[in-house]
């Protein structure tokens, strides 16, 4: 496998090695073809790219800074740089993808955005982009997540989006995905399905990675200015479906940096999943011995997902990226530690990446003096209620 081929255009079949593809009902195939053609056309159009870049700059607050975590670095004996997606508009990296897809939907003449959401960050971002462009938004959210993320539900409502509670299955992100797809089949003529991560049928895993690539490309340039070696030893990001990690890795896959994706112990598709087909793509999926998809469990609603983006499965198989897990306890301790050393309140999702860095530095798995670039994918205001006891 040549590095050149990694994280490039997966072609018309949407395959990343053995993974990806387009496992959707015939009813949705024309829509997938139409979106792929529209994206290829838009992505090659300087006018579209300009409009996206301008919107991300003047509206979403890009570029986001690369912040040296000075006190935590000293404690850990490493150089830790934080890519601050928490400072993007709506408080997470989700806005990058959503602005791109909403502009595409508008270009395609669609009136309504459909979205699934777990923690609510993608739902909020979708509601935001819909408001910006004068589109309608319908967001599917598991009933359990609605309870856990009440603040984000209210944000979506204020922004004018309809939030549809999903009461089937585990009532979390995977069921919200099923319901969004079912709704999409029935409304494909006027609605655009704004997928929130590097998952779903082709072209979504590729398209979402391309819209998130801005994280990695900015960080690559910023690391060049910040680090004597120009490139960090490690690039680390959390992985649920894996969109912030995919965007981050895309900027570094051609460098010498070691890429690390960090999953929740209870939602670790890359670490303990088997090959399977879920939500329109083939990848690694948490499932029982009979092939029924298992519910994922994590303190972070955004990582409660039993699959992983197909490109991550491919990067894992080829050894270009490695995937690790951390426990809920480690995550909460990492969140509080970053808050107290740097004055940054990270999302529980992002705190997974941080928890791995802390453990790896403290055990010596990441050697003293190493440089680490970590994508801090979102801010933690939404998670305060979930942190019941301070360590």
């Amino acid at each position: 496998m040549s590095e050149h081929a990694l994280m490039s255009d997966p072609g018309t079949t949407g395959r990343f090695g053995d993974y990806g593809g387009r496992y959707v009902p015939e009813s949705l195939i024309p829509a997938c073809h139409e979106i792929e053609a529209a994206f290829r056309d838009a992505w090659a159009d300087p006018g579209f790219r300009d409009r996206l870049t301008t919107t991300l700059t003047v509206y979403a607050g890009r570029p986001t800074p690369l912040t040296p975590a000075r006190r935590l670095s000293r404690e850990l004996g490493i150089t830790l740089l934080l890519k601050r997606e928490d400072l993007a508009h709506t408080g997470s990296h989700k806005i990058n993808n959503v602005v791109g897809q909403a502009l595409l939907a508008e270009r395609m003449g669609r009136r309504r955005l459909l979205a699934e959401t777990g923690a609510g960050q993608h739902g909020v971002a979708t509601a935001t982009a819909a408001a910006l462009l004068g589109l309608e938004a319908t967001v599917f959210m598991g009933e359990r997540d609605i309870e856990r993320q009440e603040l984000n539900v209210r944000r979506m409502n204020v922004l004018g989006a309809e939030v549809v509670p999903v009461t089937t299955g585990s009532r979390t992100l995977k069921d919200a995905c099923n319901e969004a797809m079912r709704h999409w089949v029935a409304s494909v003529d006027d609605s655009y399905y704004c997928v929130g991560s590097v998952m779903g049928p082709h072209p979504y895993p590729w398209m979402v990675r391309e819209f998130q690539r801005v994280i990695g490309e900015e960080a690559r340039v910023q690391c060049g200015a910040e680090l004597p070696a120009g490139v960090p030893d490690y690039v680390v990001a959390c992985v649920g479906g894996g969109s912030n990690a995919a965007g981050t890795f895309a900027g570094f896959v051609g460098t010498t940096a070691r890429l690390v994706g960090v999953e929740a112990e209870g939602g670790a598709a890359a670490t303990s999943g088997r090959a399977g087909v879920l939500h329109g793509y083939r990848s690694l999926v948490l499932q029982d011995e009979h092939g029924q998809v298992r519910e994922a469990h994590s303190i972070a609603a955004g990582l409660d997902y039993p699959g992983i983006g197909p490109e991550h499965a491919h990067l894992r198989d080829g050894g270009r990226a490695r995937y690790a897990t951390v426990t809920d306890d480690e995550v909460v301790r990492a969140l509080v530690r970053l808050a107290r050393t740097e004055g940054i309140l990270a999302a529980l999702e992002s705190s997974h990446a941080l928890a791995w860095v802390i453990r790896a530095a403290e055990t010596g798995a990441v050697a003293p003096g190493s440089t680490v670039m970590l994508t801090l994918s979102g801010r933690g205001d939404k998670d305060i209620a979930a942190i019941k006891e301070l360590p």
Binding site: G21, S27, G169, L278
Partner: protein
């Protein structure tokens, strides 16, 4: 006799085809439901292998699937019960890709064949992804039926009609499985287009909620698949005997359907004159 040969023979005998569905393992003794369907005049029976995340299914089949899984239904368990069942019409499987590819498409097809099934349909494996599975099914003598949708382009319909085996499953609407919905000009057109492309039976599914609707849809194709209307009754406590009576009422509606002016004159390609009208019980695979 393959599923396709069986269905063509029955159709060519002048019959509208009726294919009722049951979720495997939905209740103890669920194979009695299959028997009741066959006794009521089913031409084939579709057996659902329940999956945790059935993307194309509406609330009724979702609930049926959840209930079956909660009751311990597995692919192996359902196949074992089907292997012990001897009925005079072919059975075929409906399930999702994740169950098919647990080991491999070839292993799944071999297991179906060993239990006497004659075909399968996998709604989340469209033309783009179906190549390997089609080969595996053919190697086991199974018919892999493909779905056609109102949104399918003429070029895709041609390819679907050409590559589908057993029959072509035409969905009546853009949406999930479930009851309700009226016949639109698009549905009539879909049936007519497919009939013009293939001699394989064309069956309508989705929204075949009662005998009158079944008869109406059958006027635009070769027959119907009835699923949610039956599973809703089963979930509400209806037993095999009454389900059989309901299927018999659909059978009667299909048998007494007025000949359709638009449909009747359509030529049937490649019809073989030596096709027998009467078919005996299937030999076990």
């Amino acid at each position: 006799m393959t599923l396709e040969e069986f269905l063509i023979a029955r159709r060519d005998a002048g019959r509208s085809l009726l294919v009722p569905y049951v979720t495997g393992g939905i209740r103890p003794g669920w194979t009695d439901v299959v028997r009741a369907y066959v006794d009521a005049g089913a031409d084939a029976v579709e057996v659902g292998f329940p999956f945790s995340d059935p993307m194309l299914d509406g609330v009724t089949i979702q609930e049926a699937s959840d209930r079956a899984i909660a009751g311990g239904a597995t692919v192996a368990g359902i196949l074992a019960e089907l292997a012990a069942l001897d009925v005079a019409v072919p059975l075929f499987a409906m399930t999702y890709s994740n169950l098919v590819f647990q080991r491999s498409g070839a292993a799944f097809c071999a297991a179906l064949r060993a239990s006497g099934l004659r075909g399968l349909i996998v709604p989340d494996s469209p033309l783009e992804e179906v190549g390997e599975l089609a080969g595996a099914a053919a190697a086991e003598g199974l018919d892999l039926a493909l779905m056609a949708a109102p949104s399918s382009s003429p070029a895709r319909l041609r390819e679907i009609a050409g590559r589908s085996r057993g029959f072509v499953y035409a969905v009546t609407r853009m949406g999930t499985t479930g009851e309700g919905g009226g016949t639109s000009p698009a549905v009539a057109r879909l049936g007519r287009d497919l009939k013009g492309l293939t001699d394989r039976p064309v069956l309508f599914g989705f929204g075949v909620s009662d005998p009158a609707r079944a008869a109406e849809l059958a006027g635009h194709a070769d027959g119907v698949v009835v699923a949610s209307a039956l599973m809703r009754r089963l979930l509400d406590g209806t037993g095999p005997r009454e389900l059989g009576e309901y299927v018999a009422s659909i059978r009667r509606a299909l048998d007494h359907r007025e000949p359709d002016e638009q449909y009747a004159p359509l030529p049937r390609h490649r019809r073989r004159p030596d096709r027998q009208d009467q078919v005996g019980p299937l030999p076990r695979g």
